[in-house]
Point group: C2
Amino acid sequence: MVAGVIPPNAPVAVAGVRVGTACAGIRRTDRDDIALFELASGTTCAAVFTRNAFCAAPVIAARRHLQHGAARYLLVNSGNANAGTGERGLADALATCAIVARLGGCAAEQVLPFSTGVIGQRLPLERFCDAVPRAFAGLHADGWAAAATAIMTTDTVAKAKSITVSVKAEPVTVTGIAKGAGMIRPDMATMLCFLATDAWVAADVLPKLLAAAVEASFNRITVDGDTSTNDACLVAATGQASAARVTAVNSEAGAALQAALSEVCGFLAEAIVRDGEGASKFIRVLVDGGRNEGECLAVAYAVAQSPLVKTALFACDANWGRILAAVGRVGRDDLDIHKVRVALNGVRIVEGGGRAADYCEEAGQAAVRSSDIAIHISLGVGTARAQVLTCDLSFDYVRINAEYRT
Amino acid sequence: MVAGVIPPNAPVAVAGVRVGTACAGIRRTDRDDIALFELASGTTCAAVFTRNAFCAAPVIAARRHLQHGAARYLLVNSGNANAGTGERGLADALATCAIVARLGGCAAEQVLPFSTGVIGQRLPLERFCDAVPRAFAGLHADGWAAAATAIMTTDTVAKAKSITVSVKAEPVTVTGIAKGAGMIRPDMATMLCFLATDAWVAADVLPKLLAAAVEASFNRITVDGDTSTNDACLVAATGQASAARVTAVNSEAGAALQAALSEVCGFLAEAIVRDGEGASKFIRVLVDGGRNEGECLAVAYAVAQSPLVKTALFACDANWGRILAAVGRVGRDDLDIHKVRVALNGVRIVEGGGRAADYCEEAGQAAVRSSDIAIHISLGVGTARAQVLTCDLSFDYVRINAEYRT
């Protein structure tokens, strides 16, 4: 979390959820790398997963078990993604579910597995046999903060957020934790993110609330354009705040819970970008004036994923020509370059396809020295808009990813 | 040119073409940065240009002048791209054409301007007034090698290639020079590339020969995924080898010239990738077994542009999980992962969605220690294939692009 600081938000316990952690020593022996969530009976779950065709074994297993319904446990490990491991990997993931089921007295299908870490290595099952019982023994309501740390890989800070809102006059808590710093360009879900609320939410409503929250948060960030094989984002509604019943998306209660869920996801998504591998700057790319959101998004991603824009900002260089080049390679013949405007942190730089008349290099350089940079691009042809969050490309990104397996 | 060495190929003179260079001191004062090509009367030209909407002023001018026909001079400068400079930039580009026209006794429309370098700064016209006459005075048949050096920006080596073939029993020369090391992901043309042949080629045939050569060479490379604002590739056919007349693409003469042109373009495209900014490895991504070429190309580009794949190879790490993740994010639901195979320099690594049974890490690590790496991905569902050339992502890429304007 070099690119500006999001103060760690101490996660608030959610009635109906207990969390335990343990050190299994999967890759590191100096901190916990297993997190176990216990969900009270009657909890409703919804989740979105990566659309990467090479999705990991735990993604396949979790998706399958989620359809079974009545999930009671989430088992998460860091240090090993159990991806690219074929049928054996799937058997391993199911075996970890069986370990939890035996301890919890439930069916293996009521356990959802999640993994993050190195791709292509077998899960060390024997370490799960030893560590999972310890995590189980340590289950308690205030285990969220420890879990936020246990699921980290190249993250430098834990990411957690809680919000309390009133739903039908009853206070409701939404708490979420997430991990992710590299291989971040979520496609429909993202990284790992675990959310819970004590509201009661109808089973057909919860996926809709989650989808809306994810679309505007995790699906609008990129660190390096690479979509992970293990992305997953899950929300559990325990229903322990019994009066707070959400039976429809388009209701006052639905809107209140949607707002809380979206705010928690938005916070965690921004925290992931600020903790992007090697990040020294947090960059918000806002594109407006487009004919439709898709056009704005394409331009925003082209700029947010341009290695040339990202290295220039790393160097505090207001090299706006690279921004124009990225915009222009998306827009092609459709773009009216004479209507395009670009501003960096409020400093107007480009107008009419070239440098703004009142722009001076000094103002641009001053703008990009900030650790938070807003690139505002106006296409000037419509009213649609879109925003993508990203970070710069630094020596440390290369170092972290060159050294990752060594 | 860190990523393996392509021996500099001394460019052979082409009858009907004279080349001169000079130092205008646009950004550097220690070497020539202006190249002037004189084409004999009767020469036919064809060119392809960037499709970036923010194309540079010289691209607009050259495209316009090319339609006028009867081009007699090409004026190239490095150090300043004259892009993002609006109407003033276009006026500046036309002014440089006028300087050449006055010296050469032709119309300004018979001069095609080309620029490469920093985006967003005005061209220093006064330096052209001084330097162009010196380049003009120095015009001679053997100026190609000096021109190959004069057009360099972040290139570390000059790129030139000549081939002699027999067309209708007459020896014909094809000579080309190119520059480019960063902002390389050509879309329909690329970087700067100047080709000439002494064959006579019909005006409607030359663009077709060029398009075919470019599509298979410059349109199959990427350094950083960023498409330049100034890309241009031009071929001039002087017709001085008077018997070597190419009047149709689908003729023996057309095929012979096409092969020569394609080989020169292929050589120069590979040279650009080997000299990619910060490159320590040359990477050939070959995808076969796809249903169509587009599918194969999309997979090849996803791998070739993955920062995670590129940093792993920089570190000589056979992190094949990252290759799978890149393949999987393109293929999505369409991909049958159980049919995908991956090999690195002939070492079979992935089969059936996971690690090949006979793969060991040592063999993979040995394969990626080479400076030339072939990533061979078989999709297993068809007969189409495509190849993309790229390089790794190193500390030096970040350094070069962080320091570019400082």
